[in-house]
Amino acid sequence: MTAHPTPLPADRAAPVSQARTVLEVENLSLSLRNADGLLPIVTDVSFSIRQGEAVALVGESGCGKSITASAIMGIAPENAVIDGTITLNGKVISGLSAHERRRLCGRHMGFIFQEPMTALHPTLSIGRQMTDTLRHNLGLGHAEATNRAAELLDRVGIPRARDILKGYVHELSGGMRQRVMIALAISCGPSLIIADEPTTALDVTIQAQVLDLLEDMRRELNLAMLFITHDLEVVGDFCEKAVVMYAGDVVERGRSADIVGAPTHPYARGLIDAVPAHDDGRTRLTPILGTVPPVGQWPEGCRFAPRCLRADSKCQTRPALERHGQTDARCWHPLEGN
């Protein structure tokens, strides 16, 4: 393990064993205000991430995983009405104004998005984007910031860092762009990284490289990481814990190994069965029947019930997120784990 090139912020020096909680999300609900009133998007989401831990937020499109992340990042849409508490490093950050939030957590949170081409600025040089961030958040001078930026690029495996600093995003490949995003995300010594489908747009060999890099960074810098993905196989490889969302609800929560190996919620089971596995020689897949109901048309009670083979009249009432076997599941008829 190589030493960090510049001194770490004081709170980073703590040994891994103490593993304090970095992010705590409690009963987060989010609705969008529109002409017809409030449209619920996410209901009652709770989870926490410790230092050095990766937690996956998993689900299909429209389940609310990305908007949950945007609420944590403080970039939820303007018409969003947010309930619940978000705590970062012991400070409540939900309910703060944008300005206060930026002051409080600008350097403590790093973001990595799916499409670096749109997340990075197209007409500012890579160096300018990085030094602006460093100067603003850490108060570095120009020369110092440039040096630091070059070190960071070097560290995320970008060759010829000094030349790349003068270049622009469009000159880089998808994998290299994502490395720049990672360099930016870790540039100010954050305690939390939020990565929204960071490898979805990449080819499989590049995906493996970027996942390795993220994992190295996490271990080296003892980062807490929120990893948003639709791919349960990536979750099993990469994250200690997982939160599975469906139609704005957390339906299962627990250790990734338990959820991927023996899920208790029928939806999580369905997600696993729907993927063709590498070597099982099946001639038919087991799809989940029907489609995800659109926002605003969620059923009363259990939102998965209309697609669930185990559903009965009891499922008309909303189940609570409760412990079943090894994991927490929101289900009246949980599957037996092994």
């Binding site: 499989v204 490889d237 990469f238 063709p276 070597d279 799809p287």
Partner: protein, 314 residues
């Protein structure tokens, strides 16, 4: 030799100015079978599909479809031949005409190819909807009223409207969520079983290709580097690129992840010798100078790699 060959591609190449997009690709597909082309972006798999359909004119090589050389056909004959060769694209939002009702979408291909009377065409449209498990009520609706999975079902029904001999499917489920992906893949296999359709299936997703295909060609930088029956490719991959591709796929535990260095080079500047050598963990001197030839390994599997020379000699 028992099943007739539907598609036979030999030495197919395509250059766009200095870019060698597809280089010397050859494969055959027997009737009722699925041939999969798998590879990363820039590997030339989609261009190969477009060449086979003659949506793009090949620079060289032959495409024999149902015993006729497509390259030699006049525009008029080619159009007639397309009746037997339909396609399904990745993006169900872009490939359906937003101003055409589902009824028109399904009737149009029949109209173009002069199949049936108007009444028969309509009956076929209704039957096709049933085949892809869509309600009859969908006939009078428009693409924007459907989800991605439903749109892809409509695109599949449209592809079937002329009762084609072959379907070319380019990343047909890549834009869909996994639960919906499984529905569409099952549907495609069912329809293939029912109609005996031959299929050229293109995907970057190794899991999907393994599920769908009988025979697989692995493409890298415009070339097929390894080819063979599914179980051989997945069970005993011979080319270092195939090995790396399979090992890079998620779900194997992070410790097992292969670390293939670098990225796919530009098709403007294809490396000399073996195109994969710049990323290959086993590359040696000869790989820079000599281009490896495709070698039979046995069991219908073949690969282009100098490392296999010893294996063949032994």
């Amino acid at each position: 030799m028992s099943t007739p060959t539907v598609l036979s591609v030999t030495g197919l190449s395509k250059s766009f100015r200095t870019v060698k997009a597809v280089r010397d690709v050859s494969f055959t597909i027997p009737k009722g079978k699925t041939f999969g082309l798998v590879g990363e972006s820039g590997s030339g798999k989609s261009t190969t599909a477009r060449l086979v359909l003659r949506l793009v004119e090949p620079s060289s090589g032959t495409i024999r479809f149902r015993g006729r050389d497509l390259a030699g056909l006049s525009v008029r004959d080619l159009r007639a031949e397309r009746r037997h060769m339909q396609m399904i694209f990745q993006d169900p939002f872009g490939s359906l005409n937003p101003r055409m009702s589902v009824r028109d979408t399904l009737v149009e291909p029949q109209l173009v190819h002069g199949i049936g009377t108007p009444a028969e065409q309509l009956r076929t449209a209704e039957r096709l909807l049933g085949e892809v498990s869509m309600p009859r009520a969908a006939l009078d609706r428009y693409p924007h009223e459907f989800s991605g999975g439903q749109r892809q079902r409509i695109a599949i029904a449209r592809a079937l409207a002329t009762n084609p001999e072959m379907i070319v499917a380019d990343e047909p489920v890549s834009a869909l969520d996994v639960s919906v992906q499984a529905q569409v893949l099952n549907l495609m296999r069912d329809l293939q079983d029912r109609h005996g359709t031959t299929m050229l299936f293109i995907s970057h997703d190794l899991r999907v290709v393994q599920f769908m295909c009988d025979e697989i060609g692995v493409m890298y930088l415009g070339e097929i580097v390894e080819q063979g029956p599914r179980d051989r490719i997945y069970g005993a991959p011979a080319h270092p690129y195939t090995q790396a591709l399979l090992a890079s796929a998620p779900g194997k535990g992070s410790g097992q992840r292969a670390r293939l260095k670098g990225e796919i080079p530009s098709a403007h500047a294809v490396p000399s010798g073996c195109a994969f050598r710049t990323r290959c963990p086993h590359a040696f001197e000869r790989c820079t100078t000599d281009k490896p030839a495709m070698r039979e390994i046995g069991g219908g599997q073949k690969a282009a790699c100098h490392l296999l020379d010893g294996a063949v000699a032994a």
